[in-house]
C-alpha cells in the first residue's frame, strides 16, 4: 500500500462530507457496525487503490482522517 488511511471510527459523526470527493468512490459507510455516537462510521473499502489526494481528510470537519505516506512508496517513487 502506498498510503495508510486511518479513520478514527469512534469520533465519526456520519456527516458524509468525506464521501463525494473521492474520484474512485472508495469511501462509504460501514453498515456492519455502529460507533459510540450511534452512527455507521465512514470507512475505506480498498485502501490499496488510494492515490493520497487528501480530499476526504481535507473536507472532514472533525479531523478524524489521517493519511500517511509509507516508506514503501518513497522507494518506489525513486526508482520509477
Amino acid at each position: 500500500m502506498k498510503f495508510n488511511i486511518i479513520f478514527n471510527h469512534e469520533e465519526c459523526k456520519g456527516c458524509e462530507l468525506c464521501i463525494p470527493w473521492c474520484k474512485f468512490e472508495l469511501i462509504s459507510f460501514d453498515k456492519s457496525r455502529l460507533n459510540k455516537k450511534g452512527v455507521h462510521p465512514a470507512m475505506i473499502a480498498h485502501p490499496e487503490k488510494c492515490v493520497g489526494c487528501g480530499n476526504c481528510a481535507l473536507m472532514c470537519p472533525d479531523a478524524i482522517i489521517t493519511i500517511e505516506k509509507t516508506e514503501e512508496d518513497r522507494s518506489q517513487g525513486k526508482e520509477g
Binding site: 458524509e16 481528510a57 473536507m59 479531523a63
Partner: protein, 249 residues
C-alpha cells in the same frame, strides 16, 4: 512514514462538539494548520467570542482570551498593542460580528489595528436556534422570519467585506467559501495571506468564510454545501476586496 493529512498540532486532542457536518470544525482545522505551517503555535493569541465560534478556545491549542458578545475586536486591539510580535486573531460568527459587534469591527478596521479577523458567515444565529441575522438572505426562512426574510421589513443582507473594503485601515479583505476541496484550499491560502499581512505590520485583515449550519437550515450537510454554491455565492460574491502584497505598507 510521513503524515500528509491529519489533525494539526495547534488543535487540542479533543473531539469537536459541533453538529455533524458543521463547517466550523473545518474552518478551525484550516486556521490551526496555517498556524502550524507558520510555526507560530507558541506565539499566537486568539480572541474568542460568543456563538458557536465561541467553542474555539476548547479546541485550539493556543493562548486565548474570551470577550463579551461582539467585542472581540476591542479585546484584540489591546492584546495586539501590548504584544505586537504575536499573531493575534479573532474568530467570530455573523451574529456576533455583523450584528452586535458592528461598531467594534468597523472601528478596529478604521484604526488599522494589526490583527486578523476570521469571520464565519452562515447567514443565521446558529447557537441560539436559527434566528434571523443581518446576513440572512432574502426569502430565507428562520425561526424569526417564518415566511422568509422580507427586504421591505428587515432590509437587505449586510455585506461586511464590501463595507470594510471602503476603509483605509483595512489592508486585506477576502471572501472565501468551504463548499468543496478546491474552495477549502483557496480558503487556507487566504487565511495564510491575512496572517502574513498582519505579521508584516500592514494593518487590519479580515477573511469572510461562507459556511454552513445544517441543523438550523434543516438540510443534510451535503445539501448545505450545495446551498453555499447555489444561493450564498450569488448573493455574497467571492473574491479579494482589498489586496495586499508583501512589501506593501
Amino acid at each position: 512514514m510521513s503524515v500528509l493529512y491529519g489533525k494539526p498540532e495547534s488543535l487540542n486532542d479533543v473531539p469537536f462538539t459541533f453538529c455533524p457536518g458543521c463547517t466550523h470544525g473545518l474552518t478551525l482545522k484550516l486556521v490551526a494548520s496555517v498556524i502550524d505551517e507558520m510555526d507560530m503555535g507558541d506565539d499566537t493569541i486568539s480572541v474568542g467570542c460568543v456563538g458557536c465560534g465561541g467553542y474555539m478556545p476548547w479546541f485550539m491549542n493556543v493562548d486565548t482570551i474570551f470577550s463579551l458578545h461582539g467585542r472581540a475586536p476591542a479585546n484584540a486591539t489591546g492584546v495586539k498593542r501590548m504584544n505586537p510580535d504575536k499573531l493575534v486573531f479573532t474568530y467570530q460568527g455573523d451574529g456576533d460580528l455583523a450584528s452586535i459587534g458592528t461598531a467594534e469591527i468597523i472601528h478596529a478596521a478604521h484604526r488599522g489595528e494589526k490583527f486578523t479577523t476570521i469571520f464565519v458567515n452562515n447567514t443565521t444565529y446558529g447557537m441560539t436556534g436559527g434566528q434571523m441575522a443581518p446576513t440572512t438572505l432574502i426569502g430565507q426562512k428562520t425561526t424569526t422570519s417564518p415566511y422568509g426574510r422580507d427586504a421591505g421589513l428587515c432590509g437587505q443582507p449586510l455585506h461586511i467585506c464590501e463595507l470594510l473594503s471602503t476603509i483605509d485601515g483595512a489592508k486585506y479583505i477576502e471572501r472565501v467559501a468551504v463548499d468543496s476541496p478546491v474552495s477549502v484550499r483557496k480558503a487556507k491560502k487566504a487565511i495564510r495571506k491575512a496572517f502574513e499581512c498582519q505579521m508584516a505590520g500592514a494593518g487590519f485583515s479580515l477573511i469572510e468564510i461562507l459556511s454552513t449550519c445544517p441543523t438550523n437550515w434543516g438540510m443534510s450537510p451535503l445539501e448545505s454545501l450545495e446551498r453555499i454554491r447555489t444561493e450564498m455565492i450569488p448573493a455574497y460574491p467571492l473574491g479579494v476586496f482589498k489586496d495586499w502584497e508583501e512589501g506593501d505598507k
